[in-house]
């Protein structure tokens, strides 16, 4: 065992920001690792990468990745990213944020970004609750779950995110758990090679908060649940992919090609611009 060597992925991280703030067993680090892995395998030009995140534990990711990054207000990552991507379509704009940020306060922005099919790549880390604020019930909290704001058990039906994304028009939709690191990494690569709006949901352990209230006190226990319940059911009907304690349908659900919004917009712009120039001269 040698120690001096640097970790092969250290170049993708901001040394001064490490170690990250995440708890023991938190899946965010795994997702960060998979993302770095994907960047490494694709040898992506980091100068052209912009990572945007919202508020929440995973929101810190933007600060950890050694590329241009922006940490927006709660829920607005996608709206901000829309401006970034349209203003400079050359950029690979990646939104990494949480379920609460993207689907509660930011839900409206999500469905519209997907509807426009703007070429933003969304990686939603779903920890089933609001972690950073201490474990409140959120848009993905499973029915019956105990949280600090559903002390008698959650009676709100959770979103089925892959169904929502597919219905909203995403050209790539996948769901994995932090146990599926290889497939998640491949999925991220696939997403980064696509043009339109892409969405990956990653089910991620929150042992310290969600787990503690729901009889899964360690990351290993939550991963154990993923292992037990996960069923790879690629390209099955996303509407049937609800997450239940017994079954977590994972896999790729949508992978289609559609002209991206920025492409259509900029083609239109250059056409109109040309015509306008002729008029003038």
């Amino acid at each position: 065992m040698v120690q001096e060597m640097a970790h092969p992925f250290s170049k993708y991280l901001r040394a001064e920001m490490m170690p990250h703030i995440w708890c023991t067993g938190c899946g965010n680090g795994v997702v960060l690792n998979c993302f770095a892995h994907a960047l490494d395998e694709l040898q992506l030009d980091l100068d052209k990468l912009v990572v945007v995140s919202g508020i929440g534990c995973i929101g810190r990711t933007a600060g950890y990745i050694n590329a241009d990054s922006f940490h927006t207000t709660h829920g607005r990552a996608l709206a901000f990213a829309t401006g970034v991507k349209l203003a400079n379509p050359e950029l690979e704009v990646m939104v990494i944020s949480g379920d609460g940020d993207l689907f509660a306060i930011g839900g409206n922005h999500f469905i519209h970004a997907a509807r426009r099919n703007i070429g933003i790549k969304v990686l939603c880390v779903n920890n089933l609750n609001y972690g950073m604020t201490g474990g409140q019930q959120g848009p993905t909290t499973p029915l019956g779950s105990i949280t600090t704001t559903s002390p008698y058990g959650n009676i709100e039906h959770p979103f089925n995110l892959v169904h929502l994304a597919a219905a909203s028009g995403a050209t790539y939709v996948a769901r994995w758990t932090t146990l599926h690191v290889r497939r998640l990494t491949q999925s991220i690569k696939r997403m980064l090679q696509k043009k339109g709006f892409c969405f990956i949901e990653v089910l991620s352990p929150c042992p310290e908060i969600y787990g503690r209230y729901n009889k899964m006190r360690s990351g290993l226990e939550m991963m154990g649940w993923f292992r037990k319940a996960s069923v790879i059911d690629s390209f099955s009907d996303p509407s049937k992919a609800e997450i239940t304690p017994e079954r977590i349908a994972v896999g790729e659900f949508v992978d289609v090609e559609k002209l991206s919004y920025e492409r259509m917009l900029h083609e239109k712009i250059s056409k109109i611009n040309e015509e306008a120039m002729e008029k003038v001269s």
């Binding site: 901001r14 001064e16 920001m17 980091l46 100068d47 052209k48 912009v50 945007v52 810190r60 933007a62 600060g63 050694n66 590329a67 241009d68 990054s69 922006f70 940490h71 927006t72 207000t73 607005r76 709206a79 901000f80 990213a81 829309t82 401006g83 970034v84 991507k85 349209l86 203003a87 400079n88 050359e90 950029l91 409206n108 922005h109 519209h112 917009l265 239109k268 712009i269 250059s270 109109i272 611009n273 306008a276 120039m277 008029k279 003038v280 001269s281």
Partner: protein, 383 residues
């Protein structure tokens, strides 16, 4: 890069919103994100047609929150960007005004003020957002707000707003009112080369050395943009000069927030603009802005005809508040009258600056702004 020959120049008969839109193009704005709202909609409509002609981007977002967020994003991607709205939308934008302030994103927000609160009277004028302009978002910060009284000014101040915003890396607000927005007047647009246009400072250090929030002497940090290889981080959290979160250090909090206020205050003299009319010998001064200032102008003329030495201090800059100018006037007038189309907002700032000098306030709400006679009566009473 698309050429920009087809910029409007020369004399034109325009309405305020259109003038604002054309001015944005002159100023170099190439990104507009907005959401339809009376009485600002014509700005969006005009730009949806004109932006592409100049190779710029128009997008209609799902709401005003998103609109400003997108504007900030575009700004960080290196484009001059703006949005336009009215009271209800302006309220929604407050969140991201805070973000723009915190991340020092140059951008222009036009608020064509209508009658509030809430949905109020969408097609009626008002000056009810002028305090929100300064205090609307939580926390302390400095901001720039300009207010036009004519369609020509709608044009000039839009250009000015972009210049200031780029100079100080701060959101610049154009606080117009429904009447100016919808009024048709002659506008003279100088040729491009005669228009002063300012662009943001770029860093002159290597990416390794670059600290995105390390200010120069003017307290404004040079701004790198996404995709330029600087690999920098920006956040709405309190951050250090490298841009990294400092969520528990009071030292960083103090340094950052003070600078955000001071970069405006300390540069106030370079920012503030007012118009002084017949103030040298005045006994009564009227302090007004926007459409009301035009009624005030004829009021002081009428007053002079009646032998009352009245003068007008027209505020062009609302924020930073033209403190010195008001104080100076206050020193040699007996009284100050402040007509506003609200229940008394900026008058409080006037009172503060005027110290002992008595200040009377004229409120007017609804369809009609103050008539010159109404202001004249106020002058009479004050004299």
């Amino acid at each position: 890069m698309p050429k920009v020959k087809n910029i409007l120049t020369g004399a034109h008969f325009l309405n305020g919103d259109v003038a604002c839109a054309e001015a944005a193009l002159v100023a170099g704005c190439r990104f507009f994100a907005g959401y339809p709202i009376t009485p600002a909609t014509e700005i969006a409509e005009t730009l949806s047609m004109r932006m592409p002609e100049l190779g710029g981007i128009y997008i209609q977002m799902e709401d005003e929150i998103a609109s400003l967020a997108a504007v900030i994003g575009a700004s960080y991607s290196g484009l001059k960007a703006m949005t336009a709205t009215s009271g209800p939308g302006f309220s929604l934008m407050q969140e991201n005004i805070g973000l723009a302030v915190m991340t020092e994103a140059p951008c222009v927000i036009v608020d064509v003020m209508r009658a509030g609160p809430s949905t109020g009277q969408p097609t009626m004028p008002g000056q009810q957002d002028v305090m929100q302009a300064k205090w609307g978002s939580h926390g302390d910060y400095g901001i720039i707000a300009l207010t036009p009284s004519s369609v020509q000014e709608m044009f000039d101040l839009t250009v000015e707003a972009f210049n200031l915003s780029e100079t100080y890396r701060v959101p610049a607000l154009l606080m117009a009112d429904e009447i100016v927005g919808h009024m048709w007047e002659k506008v003279v647009i100088p040729p491009m080369d005669k228009v002063r246009i300012v662009n943001r400072k770029k860093p002159n250090v290597s990416p390794e050395e670059y600290k995105p929030f390390l200010p120069d002497d003017d307290l404004v940090p040079p701004m790198a943009c996404f995709g330029e290889g600087y690999h920098f981080h920006a956040t709405g959290l309190t951050h250090n000069e490298s841009g990294y979160p400092r969520t528990s250090s009071s030292e960083d909090q103090t340094r950052l927030v003070n600078r955000l206020c001071e970069k405006i205050q300390k540069n106030a003299d370079k920012i503030v603009r007012v118009e002084e009319v017949m103030l040298d010998d005045a006994d009564v001064a009227v302090v007004a802005y926007g459409i009301v200032a035009r009624a005030a102008l004829s009021a002081i003329k009428k007053a002079r005809e009646k032998g009352i030495k009245a003068g007008l201090l027209r505020l062009i800059t609302l924020w930073p508040f033209p403190e010195e100018h008001v104080a100076k006037v206050a020193q040699h007038v007996r009284a100050i009258a402040v007509p506003e189309m609200n229940c008394g907002q900026l008058v409080r700032e006037v009172e503060r600056a005027a110290r002992e000098t008595p200040v009377t306030f004229l409120s007017k709400l609804g369809e009609e702004p103050h008539t010159p006679t109404e202001i004249l009566d106020a002058i009479r009473r004050a004299a």
